[in-house]
Subunit: 640 residues, 2 copies
C-alpha cells in the first residue's frame, strides 16, 4: 500500500547509473535556480518605497538613487559569483569556497548562514506568494497557514520526483512572469508616448511626514531603505552552488545562466522602480495593494485579462522561488553529511536520485517557521537577508584568497593578469557585501534578525559537535594492527517458555553452532507452567540441560541479566550467545495475541556488553521453513 502510493507520487526508482540523465540545459536551469532572485523584483522596489515613505515626499524622491545602489550591488555580486563558477566547477558555493580558503570555522559559519537562509527563502517566498493570492481572493485569508504548508508539500513532491521534472514544472510561471513584465514595459513605453499613463491608485495618498532632507535621520533612512532593497539579491548564489547540475561545459553554462539572470533581474528591477517613481506609487505597510500590482493595473488596466494573468504569474513565481532553496539545501546538506558535519543519511540519494532526506528536512523546518509565525510575512522577512550577506561576504573573501594561491602557482603573464582581474572583482564584491552585511545587521537585528543569528550560532556549534562525535566513533571502531581473534569460548543460552517447535528449532540451531556450553534457560514466573515445561523436557528426552531462573517479581529481564552478569564474571573472555525463539505472525494485529517479551529482551540485551543475540524466527502459517523435521540430520552425519 505505502509502496504503491510512493510510486504514484514520486515515480519509479532510478538506477544510480542514470545520474547523468538529470543534468539541466540552460533554459531549464534558469527557472530552477533563478526563480528566487527574479521573483524578488516583485517586492524589492516596494520595500524601498515603504521605508522612504516614512521620511516624507522629499525622501521618496531619493528612490531612484537607492534603486541604483541596489543595481550596482547586483552587478558587483553577479560579476563576483561568475568567477566562482569558473573556479569551482564542482559547486558548493560559499561553504566549499570558505572551507578551501578560510578554514573550518569560516566554512561552518558560511554553512550555517546558508542553511538558515534556505529555510527562510522557502518560508518567505511561499508566504508572500500566498499573500498575493489571499489579497485577490479575500475568502482564503483565514486559511493562509494551511495554504502555505500545502504549497510546501507540493514543492516537496515535485522535488522528490527529481530535478529535471521540477525544472519543467517551474519553467512556465517563471517565463510567464518574465515575458509579462517586459510586455508591461513595452505597453507602458508606447502608452506614455501616445498620451500618458494614469497615475497609480495610491498616488494621491497622504504622506505621513515631510521632514527636510539631511542629517543623521535621513542617512539612517537611506541605509534602512537600501538594506530592505537588498532583498533583490537573495538567491544569487544558487547557481554557483548548482554548477554540477548543468550540462557540459558546466562552468561556462553556469556563468552564462548567471549573467542572463543578472541582466533579467537588473532590467526588471530598474524598469519597475522607474515606473513606480513615474506613476507615484506608494507602499502600504500591510502590503495591500502591492506597488507592482498598482503599476500593472495602471499599465494593463485594472480589469483587463492581462492584469489578472500578470497577478497570477507573480503569485506563481513567488511560490516557486522557494524551489531555489529546494535545489540548494539538499545538495549543501549532502556535502555537509559527507564531511561529517551533519548526519550521514543526508548524503543518501533516494529512489529518484535526489537527496530525499534533505528535501524533507528543509520542508519540515520551513513548515515549522510558517506555522510558528502564523504565515505573517512582515515578521518573517526581518529574519531573511542576514544569512544571505554573511555567506556572500565569506564567499567573496574566500575567492580573494583563492586567487592568491593561483597566483603563486602561475608564471604565465597573461594568466596572471586574468587572475589579478578576477581577484579585483572578488575583492570589490567582498568589500561591498561586507559593508552591506554591517548595514543589514545594524538596521535589522532588533526587528527579529536576532532569531536568525541565534539559529546560525546553534547550527555552528551543532555541526562542530556532530563532527567531533563522528571523529570519535571512527577512531574507536578503526581496526588496529592485531589480527582479529576469536572468542575464548562461546556460552550459548536458549530461552524457552514452553516446549514447542519454535523452541526446538532454536535449540537445534544453537546445537549446530557447537558452542562450548549449551543450556536452555527458562524464567519461572508461573510455578505450574515451569513444572509442565520440566516434565515435557524429560518426556521428550532432550539432552540439553534446562536451567530454571527464579523470577519472583514476574519480571523476565532482571533474572536473565543477573544470570548473564554472573556468567560474564566467571568467564570474562567468553561470548554469551542468547538464542531467542520468536513467533513471527503474518499480520500485524496477530502480534497483539502474542507476548512481546522477545522484543523487550532483545532491546535490553543489545546494551549488555559481551552478549550476542540470535533471533530464530518461527513463521506461523508457513509450511516449509527449512530444516526443522528434515530427515537429513547433520548430527547423524557427523556424530555416527
Amino acid at each position: 500500500m505505502f509502496d504503491m502510493l510512493k510510486r504514484l507520487l514520486v515515480g519509479r526508482p532510478r538506477r544510480s547509473a542514470g545520474l547523468g540523465e538529470t543534468l539541466l540545459p540552460k533554459w531549464l536551469a534558469l527557472p530552477v535556480f533563478c526563480s528566487d532572485p527574479i521573483s524578488s523584483v516583485a517586492y524589492a522596489t516596494e520595500q524601498i518605497v515603504l521605508v522612504l515613505g516614512a521620511g516624507g515626499l522629499a525622501a521618496l524622491t531619493l528612490t531612484p538613487w537607492v534603486g541604483l545602489a541596489v543595481v550596482v550591488l547586483l552587478v558587483v555580486v553577479v560579476a563576483s559569483y561568475r568567477q566562482t563558477c569558473y573556479a569551482y566547477p564542482n559547486g558548493g558555493g560559499a561553504y566549499v569556497v570558505s572551507r578551501d580558503n578560510l578554514g573550518e570555522s569560516a566554512s561552518l559559519v558560511a554553512a550555517s548562514a546558508l542553511l538558515v537562509d534556505y529555510v527562510m527563502t522557502v518560508a518567505v517566498s511561499i508566504v508572500s506568494g500566498v499573500v498575493a493570492i489571499t489579497s485577490a481572493l479575500r475568502s482564503l485569508q483565514p486559511h493562509a497557514v494551511a495554504l502555505s504548508v500545502g504549497f510546501v508539500l507540493v514543492l516537496v513532491l515535485a522535488n522528490l520526483r527529481g530535478t529535471k521534472e521540477s525544472g519543467r514544472t517551474f519553467a512556465i510561471p517563471t517565463y510567464s512572469f518574465i515575458g509579462l513584465t517586459y510586455l508591461m514595459f513595452t505597453i507602458a513605453a508606447v502608452r506614455s508616448f501616445a498620451g500618458g499613463l494614469p497615475a497609480a491608485e495610491t498616488a494621491t495618498a497622504p504622506v505621513t511626514q515631510t521632514a527636510a532632507l539631511g542629517g543623521v535621520f535621513t542617512a539612517l533612512l537611506l541605509l534602512r531603505a537600501f538594506a530592505s532593497g537588498c532583498t533583490a539579491l537573495t538567491g544569487v548564489e544558487a547557481i554557483s552552488n548548482g554548477v554540477p547540475a548543468f550540462r557540459k561545459p558546466k562552468s561556462r553554462n553556469a556563468a552564462i545562466t548567471l549573467t542572463l539572470m543578472g541582466a533579467l533581474a537588473i532590467t526588471m528591477f530598474s524598469g519597475i522602480t522607474v515606473l513606480a517613481v513615474a506613476l507615484h506609487a506608494r507602499a502600504n505597510p500591510d502590503g495591500n495593494p502591492s506597488v507592482i500590482s498598482q503599476i500593472a493595473a495602471s499599465v494593463f488596466g485594472g480589469e483587463s485579462v492581462l492584469f489578472y494573468l500578470f497577478q497570477a504569474a507573480t503569485a506563481g513565481i513567488l511560490i516557486l522561488a522557494a524551489n531555489t532553496a529546494f535545489n540548494g539545501f539538499p545538495v549543501l546538506a549532502s556535502i555537509l553529511g559527507q564531511h561529517r558535519y551533519l548526519p550521514r543519511q543526508l548524503h543518501n540519494r533516494g529512489d529518484r536520485l535526489v537527496f530525499s532526506n534533505g528535501i524533507l528536512l528543509l520542508a519540515s523546518f520551513a513548515a515549522v517557521l510558517i506555522i510558528g509565525f502564523d504565515a505573517n510575512i512582515d515578521k518573517l522577512i526581518q529574519l531573511y537577508i542576514i544569512g544571505v550577506f554573511t555567506s556572500f561576504t565569506l564567499s567573496q573573501f574566500g575567492m580573494v584568497r583563492h586567487w592568491n594561491r593561483e597566483l603563486a602557482h602561475s608564471a604565465d603573464p597573461a594568466r596572471r593578469r586574468a587572475i589579478r582581474r578576477a581577484q579585483l572583482i572578488n575583492l570589490i564584491g567582498a568589500i561591498c557585501t561586507a559593508v552591506v552585511l554591517v548595514v543589514v545587521f545594524v538596521t535589522k537585528i532588533e526587528h527579529g534578525a536576532w532569531l536568525a543569528v541565534a539559529a546560525m550560532i546553534v547550527l555552528f556549534f551543532l555541526m562542530r559537535a556532530i563532527n567531533r562525535y563522528y571523529a570519535r566513533v571512527t577512531a574507536e571502531v578503526a581496526p588496529d594492527q592485531t589480527p582479529p581473534t576469536l572468542p575464548a569460548s562461546v556460552h550459548a543460552l536458549v530461552l524457552v517458555s514452553r516446549l514447542h517447535k519454535p523452541a526446538l528449532r532454536a535449540l537445534a540451531f544453537a546445537r549446530a553452532n557447537r558452542p562450548d556450553v549449551l543450556e536452555a534457560v527458562t524464567m519461572a514466573t508461573d510455578e505450574q507452567e515451569t513444572r509442565e515445561l520440566a516434565e515435557a523436557w524429560q518426556r521428550h528426552g532432550i539432552s540439553v540441560p534446562l536451567k530454571v531462573l527464579e523470577a519472583p517479581y514476574r519480571d523476565l529481564l532482571r533474572p536473565l541479566t543477573d544470570y548473564i552478569q554472573r556468567l560474564r564474571r566467571d568467564k570474562p573472555r567468553a561470548v554469551i550467545a542468547v538464542y531467542i525463539p520468536e513467533h513471527v505472525t503474518r499480520r500485524w494485529w496477530q502480534n497483539l495475541l502474542h507476548n512481546q517479551s522477545a522484543l523487550r529482551i532483545k532491546a535490553r540485551l543489545l546494551f549488555t556488553p559481551g552478549v550476542v543475540v540470535v533471533n530464530v524466527p518461527y513463521l506461523l502459517g508457513v509450511a516449509s521453513q527449512g530444516w526443522l523435521g528434515s530427515e537429513l540430520s547433520r548430527e547423524r552425519q557427523t556424530v555416527p
Copy 2:
C-alpha cells in the same frame, strides 16, 4: 526516569509469593465489591419517579408498588447469587457458571455481557458522580469530560497499587454514605413524629399529564418504570466473581457479605422510596435537583453541614462504584485470557500482583465512552442494564443445571433436599431475571441499548476468533514425535559496509560458530566506498571471501533478499545465518547520526523463511566488550 515515576505512583513490586497478602476481610470487601449496588440507591428511586411522572399524579401513586417489585427482585437475585458463592468458591461468576453448565456459546455470551457491563459501570458511575459535583459547583460544568477522565485515572492508579490499598481508599466514602443515609432515616422518623417534615422542593411542581389509570399505556409505563428501577441491581454479581479475594472461609464470607449488601441496598432503597413518596418529590428529566438531594435537604435542612456532607458522600460513592468494575473486569479478562478467548497478556500479573493490563484496558474503553458520549449521563444510562440482566439470566439458568448434576451424584436425602432447595431458588431467579431481560430489551433497545447489544455481538465473535487462532497456533507449534534434528548445513553471511571493529567482531563470532560456508557480503550502493572496502579487505589479509552484491537502486534490502532466495533455492535444507554488526549508542539521539539500515534489514529478514538473524552489537564508548582483541584465540587453540 519512567521507572522512578512508576515506583512513585504504583509502589514497589511485590513477590509472587505474596499473593495471599492481598486477601480481603469482610469489612474491606464490602466497599470494594458493593459500592456499585449500594450507590445505585442514589438514583434508582429517581428513575422510577421520572418515568411514572410522565403518566401524571395517578401514575405516581404507583411508585411504592414499582419499588416493591424492585425490592422483591433484589431479594430473589441476592438469594440466587448466594447459592453461587457456595457452589463456585473459585469465583468467575456468570462466565464460569455458564461455561460449566451451558456450554461454550452461552459462556461467551455471558462473558461479552459482563465485559460490556463493566465498562458501562465505570462510565455511568463516574459520569453520574461528576454530575452530582457539577450540579453543586456549576462552574465546573464545562469540564465534565475532563473531570470524568481524571477520576478514571485516579481509579486506575489506586487499582494498580493493589486490591487491599484500593479497599482502604474506598472504605471511607462508602461507609459515610451508608451511615449518613441511616442517620437521615432516623432524623426523618423523629422529626415526622415531632411535627412533620417540610415537603420536597418540587412537591408543588406541575405534573404534565393526568391520564386515568388502566389500559396498555399504564402497563407499558409500569414496565418502563420497573426496567429503569432495575438499575438498583447493577453490580450484585460482583461478589460471586470475587470469591477468591475473600479470606477463608471464602464462600461463607462472600455469602455473608452478599447478604449484608442485600440488606443494606433493600433498606436504603425502600427508605428513600418511602421518603420520596411521603415528601412528594418529583424528578426532573435533567436530573437537577436529584430526588435524593431533595429528600436530604428536607430532612437535614438545605443549608446544614450534614446536607453538604451527605452530598459529598453521594458523589464519592457514585464515583467509587466504578471501582467494582475495576475489581471484576481484570479478573474476568484474566480468566478469559487463560482460556484463550482474549490475549494472553491479560493473564499476567503486574508489579503489584494485580492484572494491570485488564485495568488499563477497562479504563481505556470507559474513557472512550465518556469522551464519545461527551459525559452525557442520559444517553449513557440507556446502554447500561441490558448486559447486567443477560449475565444474570445465564448465570441463574446455569446454576439450575449445576444442581441437576449435583443431584445425580448425591444419595444422602438431607443433602438432596438442600440441593433441591437451592435449585428452586436459582430457578425462581432465572425466570425472574429472564422476564426482566425481555422487559429491559423491549423498553430500551431503541433508546441506545442497541449499541451495547452490538458491542456484545462483536465481542462474542471476536473471542471465538481469538480462541480459534490460539488453537491453530498451538496445534502448529506442538512438537511432533520425530526427535528434533539439526539443519543440514549452515550458510553464514556477515553483512559489512566498511572494515571496522564491529564488522571484524561479527566475522570473528561467525567464524567461532564454524558454519559450513562463511562469506562476508556487502551491498554496492556507492562505487568508491565499495572499492575502498575491497582494498581494506586485501590490506588486512582477511581470509573470509567478500561477496559484492550490486545495488543499482541504492536499496539495500532487495539485493540481499534476492541473494538469500538464490541460496535457499540451491540448498533448501540449509539454514542461512545472517550476522549483522550493529553500532549500539549510549544515548538515543546518537542513533540519529547512524544509518538505521541494520534495523530495517532485521525487520525484513524476520519474515524470510529459513533465515536466522544474529545481532553482534558493538557498544560505542564501552572499553571492555569481551573477546575482541583478547590474546587467547580459540582458533589458535584448536587449529594449531
